[in-house]
Point group: none
Chain length 369, copies 2
């Protein structure tokens, strides 16, 4: 980043931090739920004065998780769809989709390639798996336009039923497939369907920022490398660990109102306004697949947060960002489940083991009855 | 072996055993870790004066197994790839790849044929399975050169990400497939990626010794029959149980610096220098698949040993052979897991049962926290 731009961005950030909007957000997150039920704590980032809030994550989870009532019917607790799964990857979309169910969603769909579908179906009879996507190797050049249109038509038929999409787990990087997924993302946006973007979805979005720009219903969940690429693309500079919170704010504002969950030892969450931290210790195990659990979890929790906010008449609650709440809840639940699985399986802990603890972890925070 | 050659090899061996190099290795392995934490014992082989060391295997495992720290990120605990799995065999590559994860690797890939891929994927969502290899029946003669080149290009894209390859579990003996795997092995060698060779990989290597000759990052893990063929090919004689250690040294030197783990009631490990024994009792159950666990385990442990040695500044540690340490650790862990599984399941013990005890076995030697 050139000095002038950096300086201008810094001024912008400082001005923003002292703004009325920032103070209001700070108040909202700190006072979420109010009273002794919720504890919040404000810490200063390592330097540069960027402020982060340690989320009152358990309070958030208790607030947004719907009460289980006998009168509710199938679908009300969430209908999630994962767009991912190709010739190479089948585990990732399965992890995301099954995690959504294990947290409490009623229906979980996967849209993937034909090759992947048979395998994903075989992992679990609980999922609804649509073998609709195609990769370049299976489509002739002269067929591409018609195949692409047909895929969009087929997925679009389902779109309005979904409370949230997860785009990216095990998506792969086939150019034709990514073009089709871009169409699906545009359609989801038109239909106001919130979208969580992870894995190869982030590869797609980093190279096509318009897909998420100014979409307040989009969440990006980058890991260390994916975050690096986003920073380079949007802010044209290196990752600055000394002002991690400030830089994340700039990134979220740069993309324009999306929510970003920056994964790391501490997860940082920002929609361009407050930066929230989740630093509860999870587990030191770093087996592949934990990011997929997170994306499925954020999808469910942000859907629940949206329902909560829509049905709430309090102005303070009305102004909350459901995507931020979903990230806080998802990050916390994964960490708790990972901690329990690790306690049990130690170095042998795999993603499947962590998924098995999602239910118990949620129950410990927010009992079903 | 002709008398003259045998005599010359014997002289060479005796000279070597009294050499400074031998004495240094002996010192290094015996003093590994030093102090009361490590116990080593030196025994004489049954006759002929060839010396073997009973490895202080638990000491080795504690030394090389990385500490679990919250700051570590995905991939740092190991990224393993298994090359194997064809129309006939799917269990073996799965056993090797899942064992790597259960010991603590972060990512485990399998490169196999299309037929095998669907099945291996369906065994576990934790593995990343690439349906890239081809057998003769699926490739026309005039396509072979281009298909072969394409396979190498695809695998090569991934190569630098891997800490270790395992070549052979369930590979089969299709000539076209073996040619492609030879190319992959040459590429791995150029890229300095350590390679553990088992099963049909040993069939390939025994007939093409140049694939491993002088490669100090190669490990061969022959069972009784595979060892017999290697001895016949390299030393042109019968297996000599009376001087098992001496003959193993000659074999390892004959191939030139590879590490050999000779599987048996007692496992013997040699890189042409010291011969180390692992004789902890495992289980009397000989169900197929245990060799696959071993190859996956050796892959992880030798990667960890390499990291340990690279990051260590002590000259004594710097000179250790990570492949030998990986063999000692892998052999010991398998034996302990097999013992626990057998205690539990007796005659019904299967490979899957043993894999389930890998984590507990490692925990008993080297607790994660």
């Amino acid at each position: 980043m050139s000095g002038a731009i950096a300086s201008s961005r810094c001024l912008e950030k400082c001005a923003w931090e002292s703004s009325a909007v920032f103070r209001r957000q700070l108040y909202l997150v700190r006072s979420l739920g109010g009273g002794s039920r919720y504890r919040t704590r404000m810490d200063m980032a390592q330097c540069s004065g960027s402020s982060t809030l340690e989320a009152d994550a358990e309070g958030v989870i208790r607030k947004i998780t719907p009460v289980m009532e006998p009168t509710r019917y199938k679908g009300q607790a969430g209908k999630i769809a994962v767009i991912g799964g190709c010739r190479e990857y089948t585990g990732a979309p399965y992890f995301a989709a099954i995690s959504a169910l294990k947290i409490g969603a009623d229906l979980s769909h996967v849209f993937c390639t034909k090759d992947a579908a048979t395998v994903i179906k075989s992992y679990s009879p609980e999922l609804i798996v649509h073998p609709l996507l195609e990769e370049s190797y299976s489509v002739r050049d002269d067929e591409k336009a018609s195949v692409s249109a047909k895929i969009l038509t087929e997925v679009a038929k389902w779109m309005e039923r979904f409370d949230c999409l997860v785009v990216g787990p095990g998506l792969g990087r086939d150019p034709f497939l990514l073009d089709c997924v871009s169409d699906i993302m545009r359609h989801a946006r038109k239909s106001n369907v919130p979208t969580i973007i992870d894995g190869d979805g982030l590869f797609l979005v980093t190279n096509n920022l318009d897909l998420v720009k100014e979409n307040s219903l989009a969440v990006l969940t980058p890991n260390i490398n994916e975050y690096k690429r986003l920073i380079e693309k949007v802010l044209n500079c290196e990752v600055n660990e000394q002002d991690a919170a400030g830089q994340l704010q700039l990134l979220a504002k740069g993309i324009g109102g999306v929510t970003i969950l920056r994964k790391g030892k501490t997860d940082l969450i920002c929609d361009g306004e407050t930066v929230t931290r989740v630093s509860t210790f999870g587990s030191p195990r770093r087996c592949g697949g934990q990011g997929d659990i997170l994306s499925g979890s954020v999808a469910v929790f942000s859907s629940w947060a949206r329902q909560y906010i829509l049905s709430n008449k309090q102005p303070t609650e009305k102004s909350l960002n459901p995507m931020v709440l979903g990230c806080i809840a998802g990050s916390t639940l994964l960490r708790r489940a990972a901690a329990l699985a690790f306690e049990n399986k130690k170095r042998a802990t795999l993603t499947t083991d962590i998924i098995e603890f999602l239910g118990k972890s949620l129950e410990s925070i927010c009992p079903a009855t």
